[in-house]
Symmetry: C2
Subunit: 312 residues, 2 copies
């Protein structure tokens, strides 16, 4: 099954486009799970991350179509952290059947790019992810090996186009011959996506990262990339609202997955969930925050149409 | 000791600026080391990589100042590969006293960028590298956490500016208001480097990646970044010659480290070393190729001046 088809099937089955991001931070993990673990002991922290993330996955798996793992938070704890990352990818994919995105923002050239793609993407790879985020600064010949390997393995790639952070404008918003850099990259990604489109599918297998914090650019880029999946970070804690991301979707409520990491993982630390649940009921806070986000997207974006579909 | 001072001391002690790149590829590793290892068994490949790279390190450590590890080739073999990467970093740093660069081209925003930097950089970090390569597409606020952590830990950062591959021009060579993107990034990197400059040091601790394949741009960028270390890939197998990289150095032969990966690791597969040594004497080929590169740089670049200095 192509990556695009996997996304469509998991999205239709859950009737929403929420992508839960696993960005574990030791200090914020509930005391009941941290217990006496030493924050300077990589093995202990990695065990805490495994337990915390496994509980999160168990709570959100019946609700959402896909999960994104932020590699940095695991890599920070060395080989033990990477071992937990590996375990979680397989748990999400094999035990829960959700789409798994490895958020590593990898990039390199030639055979090095191939090595990243070959190691991370596909069922029989070392890491076993369904998709990987990649950075485009090294240009077209650096993206091609990622695209080639992804397609060979029925996996996907999300290329950074317009990122959610304010500083992204430093390169991305520069204008060359009347056209921004992000738009140029978007046009290239759309070509890549078309070149990987399966027969009778609207979307190809090469996606774009476009921040929820830029609602106008989301609309512009949906126009530039009509056959490209969007991975939209920046919802919630970075300020993007459901209304802001509405333009990321097509008329059927497909074409975008909306990420929320801290707002779900650490919902117990934020209102209204802090008052209602608090740390002792952190699992209920995770569930409530996920359901709230699903409902907001259904109410204020074309993703509401997903509830009309039985399957497709 | 700052990262810049570490580079200066290791370069003066070896009297050359060669950076050996560890990019192990299973198929090219001599039969005597591969033996019966199964290329699909991550644990076995990771063991072969460890043995091969350890031998390389033993051969080149008396000759060169620094070693770069390409994370992709280790990550490709999962947790076992990462375990070998970790072992090698410590072996190079602790047992051999060379500078170690983690070539991961990492990039992300805010606390995620901090997590990468905190995990990879500095003696007490999980990975323990002296420096890390990073990609600038996400802009200034994505680079700041890397810079801050690097400086706090007496470590370094190399920002991709003008990469060695032809496709790099897709973004890097675009011209905005009469100035290329790579030059804009270079100006920003020079500011960062100045902001991290220790008293009485010419160079700061934030460096730039500039490919050996672009000799004109090397000269231009040396002018734009007078206080910035250059990490120069693309020597040898990608076509850069000693003459091509001459402009990367300052008048004392400092300011740049020149990387060679395949040309040293797999010298036994290339002429003239293939005929002279062949696979059975692959270690002698590694040594001869390293010495040849050192001599070429001494003969054709300002790095020849390093042999005049006793210490500094």
């Amino acid at each position: 099954m192509t990556f695009s088809r996997l996304l469509i099937e998991t999205i239709y089955s859950k009737k929403n486009p929420v992508l839960v991001g696993l960005d574990p931070r030791f200090d914020w993990i509930p005391e009941a799970i941290r217990r006496n673990a030493d924050p300077k002991n990589n093995e202990q922290v990695a065990e805490v991350f495994k337990e915390f993330c496994r509980e999160i996955i168990d709570i959100v798996a019946p609700l959402v179509p896909a999960i994104k793992l932020q590699a940095a938070f695991f890599e920070q704890y060395g080989v033990h952290g990477m071992s937990t990352l590996h375990w979680l990818i397989h748990y999400i994919r094999i035990k829960k059947g959700l789409a798994v995105i490895f958020d590593g923002k990898r990039n390199d050239i030639g055979s090095t790019a191939e090595a990243y793609a070959a190691g991370i993407l596909g069922e029989h790879s070392s890491w076993g992810a369904d998709a990987l985020t990649v950075s485009p600064y090294l240009g077209d010949d650096s993206l091609e090996p990622f695209v080639k390997t992804a397609v060979e393995r029925n996996a996907g790639i999300f290329v950074l186009v317009k990122t959610s952070n304010p500083g992204g404008k430093m390169i991305q918003d520069l204008v060359v011959d009347g056209k921004t850099i992000y738009r140029r990259i978007a046009e290239y990604v759309q070509q890549l996506s078309l070149s990987t489109q399966a027969r009778s599918e609207r979307y190809g297998n090469i996606g774009a990262v476009v921040g929820a914090t830029w609602s106008e650019q989301l609309a512009e880029l949906r126009g530039v990339m009509p056959n490209t999946w969007f991975l939209v970070p920046g919802f919630g804690s970075q300020g993007g609202s459901a209304k802001d991301v509405a333009a990321a979707f097509d008329e059927n409520g497909l074409g975008a997955i909306i990420n929320n990491s801290r707002g779900i993982l650490f919902a117990y630390r934020q209102e209204p969930f802090q008052s209602t649940f608090g740390e002792t009921k952190w699992q209920q806070a995770v569930e409530a925050a996920t359901i709230q986000m699903i409902e907001q997207l259904r109410a204020e974006t074309p993703a509401g149409k997903l509830t009309n579909n039985n399957t497709k």
